[in-house]
């Protein structure tokens, strides 16, 4: 057989083209969809706090945007797998699972470029931090993005149709972004409910971001613990997604 020199760049680009560029060109309404959820909560929190919590909510909207990528990914993967049987075609091809998922994950970021641009502008205007603080927020967002993408991929492999995947999205969104103290400081939650919020990895991501901008003061020990837990959950989930997900069905 003729040996083909395969380009990983092409393989990643294929996912981006199919799942975001071509889809957005066909359905521009998708852009409004990705924009609406983070901005509507941002508006509600800002209005309810008379503008006082705008900087915290702006950081929270970034986290929500990252989480939304994961929930969108599981919906998109489920649709392409169960309704189009595209994933089966990809499985029976030289595309490795990791490259396919990486491309699909990047496609979710491409989707949110308009939202991300707007949120970054809002953060630059209303959130004051240092260069190191900015880098911490960047890594914080990258970690929560990896977490949500891994979760999205894992769930997509278990969903048998799009209805089930919508249900997953419906569950993930409130438990990862609306209920936990992502848009507001954790001190607003009374005990003992505050402990419950620590069940969500987004709480740690939000605390790290708020600590970097002075809206929370975690102390060295709690700060380190937050990072450890966030990275630990992300690594575990990524491992599960890569090793235990059903690329080839059993």
């Amino acid at each position: 057989m003729k040996r083909i020199k395969r380009s990983v760049y092409s393989q990643v680009t294929a996912s981006i083209l199919v799942n975001s560029i071509y889809a957005m060109m066909n359905y521009p309404v998708l852009l409004i969809n990705t924009l609406l959820a983070p901005l509507s909560l941002l508006a509600v929190v800002t209005f309810a706090s008379h503008g006082r919590l705008l900087p915290v909510a702006a950081e929270g909207a970034l986290i929500m945007n990252m989480v939304q990528s994961g929930t969108s990914l599981q919906g998109d993967l489920s649709h392409l797998k169960n309704d189009m049987r595209l994933q089966d075609m990809i499985v029976s091809s030289p595309t490795p699972a990791m490259i396919y998922i990486f491309g699909m994950a990047i496609s979710e970021i491409v989707y949110s470029i308009p939202t991300l641009t707007l949120l970054i502008i809002l953060n630059l205007l209303f959130v004051k931090t240092t260069i190191i603080g900015g880098m911490v927020i960047f890594f914080d967002m990258a970690t929560i993005f990896t977490f949500s993408i891994s979760l999205g991929f894992l769930l997509s492999t278990f969903s048998s149709d799009i209805i089930q995947s919508w249900a997953f999205s419906g569950i993930l969104s409130p438990i990862l972004t609306t209920l936990p103290p992502v848009y507001y400081p954790i001190s607003y939650i009374p005990y003992p409910y505050r402990y419950l919020s620590y069940l969500s990895p987004t709480t740690y991501a939000a605390e790290i971001a708020q600590n970097s901008t002075g809206f929370a003061n975690l102390g060295v020990e709690n700060y380190a613990i937050s990072w450890l837990i966030l990275i630990g959950i992300t690594v575990l989930l990524t491992y599960l997604a890569l090793r235990r997900s059903r690329w080839r069905e059993v």
Partner: protein, 298 residues
């Protein structure tokens, strides 16, 4: 192109045996047709061979590579269109083929060129920029086939590619598959027995997860007791046969199955009676009915 399957078995949920120790040894450039009733195990077999599904036990070797231990190398050489594959509605045909080829690692420009060639070979060149959702059912099925034939894959799996197509569209697809089979192995499942007979260089009949028989249509015919059929078109008919089977098909039609010598000995009798008749070799439907029971499965 070579496929060797060794005792492939698939049991779903610990109880339902979809494949039962299937062995295959195929060395072919051409079309390998797998036929069987619904639930016979056709799709399970094709999904295991195309590395989409793990077998419960057994394995298979495709062009020298084990599907379990060397799945990566197998996937370099195969391409598959699943039974329920659908063209992504928001793409155009050229975007569909190009993106699939890019997933296989081709650059955009190379993939696009190969995609245009494949669409042309399927007669879809005028629709390349039409949205997939606006294509007819037949055009969508052709597009899915174009997607995989555009690739360099030497073994192509097509799971019921013509289901739902009208007769003309099916025949068009048959012509295309005939051209493509020269330097590839195409593994085709179908529930149209005529299709398997017309296209299949090799045919395997599956029933309840087991291979009932395999071979060329000639091989399959040679193994059955009555390989010829005399079709008599008459409302009244009485005949005595030492060795054969008479089946009344309708009020005006009888089919007489027998050996070549027996059937030809009856021909003179038909001429004398001035009855309209034809003599044929039995079709795959007859062989299928003989082996599996029941007629065409859908």
């Amino acid at each position: 192109m070579e496929i060797i399957a060794k005792s492939l078995t698939k049991i779903y949920d610990g109880k339902y045996k979809a494949l039962d120790t299937v062995d295959l040894d195929i060395n072919l450039n051409g079309i390998f047709s797998i036929i069987g009733k619904n639930g016979a195990g056709k799709t399970t077999l094709i999904r295991i061979l195309s590395t989409q599904l793990m077998p419960t036990s057994g394995t298979a070797i495709l062009n020298g590579h084990d599907i379990l231990r060397e799945a990566g190398k197998v996937r370099e050489e195969i391409a598959a269109v699943p039974q329920e594959a659908r063209a992504v509605p928001w793409l155009t045909p050229i975007q569909t083929v190009t993106s699939y080829l890019m997933w296989r690692g081709y650059t955009f420009s190379k993939a696009k060129q190969m995609g245009l060639d494949a669409l042309r070979s399927m007669g879809l060149e005028n629709l390349e920029n039409q949205k997939n959702r606006k294509l007819s059912g037949g055009q969508k099925r052709k597009l899915m086939v174009a997607t995989v034939i555009a690739s360099e894959a030497s073994i192509i799996f097509l799971d019921e590619p013509t289901t739902g197509l009208d007769y003309i569209s099916r025949k068009e697809l048959w012509e295309i598959l005939r051209k493509l089979k020269k330097d590839r192995l195409i593994i085709l499942t179908t529930h149209y027995l005529e299709e398997a007979e017309v296209l299949g260089d090799l045919i395997t009949i599956l029933d309840k997860g087991k291979i009932m028989d395999s071979g060329t249509i000639g091989d399959l015919r040679s193994k059955i007791k009555y390989p010829f059929v005399l079709k008599v078109y008459s409302p009244q008919f009485d005949i005595e046969m030492k060795n054969g089977r008479i089946s009344r098909v309708s009020d005006n039609e009888f089919f007489i199955y027998g050996s070549e010598s027996e059937i030809y000995s009856l021909v003179q009798d038909m001429i004398n009676r001035k009855v309209r008749f034809t003599v044929e070799e039995v079709s795959l439907s007859n062989i299928f009915e003989n082996l599996v029971g029941g007629g065409e499965e859908d």
